[in-house]
Symmetry: none
Subunit: 196 residues, 4 copies
Amino acid sequence: MARAKDEKKRQTILLAAKTLFSRQGFFNTSVTDITRETGLPVGSIYTYFKGKEEIVRAIVDEGWGDLRNRLVTTVSSAETPEEKLKLIIDQFLPEVLNDLDLVNILLSEAITYTKIEEKVEELSGIILALLKAVAKDNKALSGLDKKMMDTALVVYFLGIMASVKVSRASSIGLKVGDILKFIKYTVGSSLGVDLR
Amino acid sequence: MARAKDEKKRQTILLAAKTLFSRQGFFNTSVTDITRETGLPVGSIYTYFKGKEEIVRAIVDEGWGDLRNRLVTTVSSAETPEEKLKLIIDQFLPEVLNDLDLVNILLSEAITYTKIEEKVEELSGIILALLKAVAKDNKALSGLDKKMMDTALVVYFLGIMASVKVSRASSIGLKVGDILKFIKYTVGSSLGVDLR
Amino acid sequence: MARAKDEKKRQTILLAAKTLFSRQGFFNTSVTDITRETGLPVGSIYTYFKGKEEIVRAIVDEGWGDLRNRLVTTVSSAETPEEKLKLIIDQFLPEVLNDLDLVNILLSEAITYTKIEEKVEELSGIILALLKAVAKDNKALSGLDKKMMDTALVVYFLGIMASVKVSRASSIGLKVGDILKFIKYTVGSSLGVDLR
Amino acid sequence: MARAKDEKKRQTILLAAKTLFSRQGFFNTSVTDITRETGLPVGSIYTYFKGKEEIVRAIVDEGWGDLRNRLVTTVSSAETPEEKLKLIIDQFLPEVLNDLDLVNILLSEAITYTKIEEKVEELSGIILALLKAVAKDNKALSGLDKKMMDTALVVYFLGIMASVKVSRASSIGLKVGDILKFIKYTVGSSLGVDLR
DNA sequence: AATGAATGAGTCTTCATTCAT
DNA sequence: TATGAATGAAGACTCATTCAT
């Protein structure tokens, strides 16, 4: 009896907060803002979340969980490592970059609650395993040691995200498409694989 | 004389604020924190700066100005484009990454007041000109169009900075040295130039 | 049957609340605390009580009723006034002081809802009647007028309770036993009766 | 330069808070209440005190300091221990009981911040020393051991205060004068001294 | 110019109570 | 009747900035 917690309401809060945090930043978004955006009374926000921090954490954790799942799905939907990599770049990466709000929040000053380093490490792990498999029969990659591949992944991943974030915030003439094209070219040529 | 004394105070404020903003974030640093760190009265802060925002802006603008100057100096201290590029990677980049506080702030949520996109564009411009010069006689680069080179620069630059920031904040096993090594290798091989 | 179950729940609430109010104070105890302690849903609390205030009131009234009953029982279980007094001190008072939680609450800020003055007056009345009976043939007491005896009772009673409360809350080297011993001695000697 | 902290303002806050805490209790008094009562803006309250707790603590500590000073002054203004005791009862105690607000707060639920046990111990110490001096040549007292005298002091002191508090809050027919009369009589007769 | 007290809008959060289910 | 989500007024406190001295 009594009402059950309403998952839809929880999502409403999460969605509104995500937009606001992304647009105005975590610290410039007040709980009252979320209240206004959702039309919910303050109390309800606290029925679903312990506080503002827990909201960001939920946004990031759940958003990231989604991405991770998509990565895993993507990877397992192809046979060879080469095809897997191709899918990562053609399918997974565009999906990530599509969720601009999430990217924005991941790199925001609320980074403290965000533990982006853990996420990046997790992702790197998955892709790194793939690269090793590719590398076995690949002259181009065999010259790279593990550390350098790891570094490369982190730099590329964060570089892509930061570029998207910055280019979005400004009138810099950089589009998501440009970035994807660059990555495709770079990865392709460094692996000696045609990802075109 | 009065001027000298003033400028010293101004720098004291700037330095303290830089450390604090980097360590605790812009929004988690109060003007009172700056007051404590500098030992100056609140009033003095407002004698030198219109407000908190103006302090970040000054930190970023002046820090960036420094970097720009160094880049220009570096570039002009070598003859051939190849040598210039080498110096950029061997001298300029390490200098940038040495100023971790500045990097931190540049990428922070205060990005709003920071106009990082303008800075990146400016820097890109300088390097891009160089790359074009190198590219003229370089097969590796002639395949890249202007847009892609531009994109590459932005992605690498922001990727490096974000990696340094993230790796600093966490226990991710990534050192500044690793990142520099990676960049050297990547740029070297993509230009067909030995930057060893 | 339904009644029995109900009454049990009611007592559960009362008991938990008593402990909590005593330990943390009335204002620092939330209805949610009671909820947690009892394992009952909030709604149930309000099924049995109109609100938080009514809970303290019930604790105090029922606790006090108990004490009054014991006092009456005690008093009627002896023959002479002297024996009655002896029992009050030897049996009743220790029982009162044993219920530290009640004492705590009686003297707490919840005094507002508690009408402690009425209780004290009631108690005084009973004992005063006794004292008068004793006094008739007692030189020591005949010098005291009614008013002063009344005052004495109130001061001693509240003094004992406050001492117990305070000594419990702190490391003051005062034990319940010390207080009882003192009272015994004082009353005994002022009545010229040996209560040893 | 700049304004100096205004001791008068601090006292205004303290006085208003004292009245309010005494009348409505600590937890039922909001900082806004203090604001209203004093006419000061919220911020100013926090310029002078870290928070609500610090305000009670200041009220209690300073009020108590006053009392202690008066006690010491009183005690040193007489020659013999007997005269000192007389003054304590005739002069000091009435002064204490005159500050009903303080008494109220000392015994309130905010007792946690109030450390009344320390105060009582301090006071006991002073008076106990006196009593010992009196006891040397006093038959009535020589039967009491130190522990019991200590207990007596605590019980009487708290009993007096609690009685005053309770009688004030209610229509109980107990006046401060009655209480003082009782104490005078009791102490007098137990010491075999005429304090009339 | 230097100082730091003064200010009050705004922040996050709590919590007793109600009421839909 | 039992339940616990819903509610929103109220709470304590912060802090960038101003301005009296």
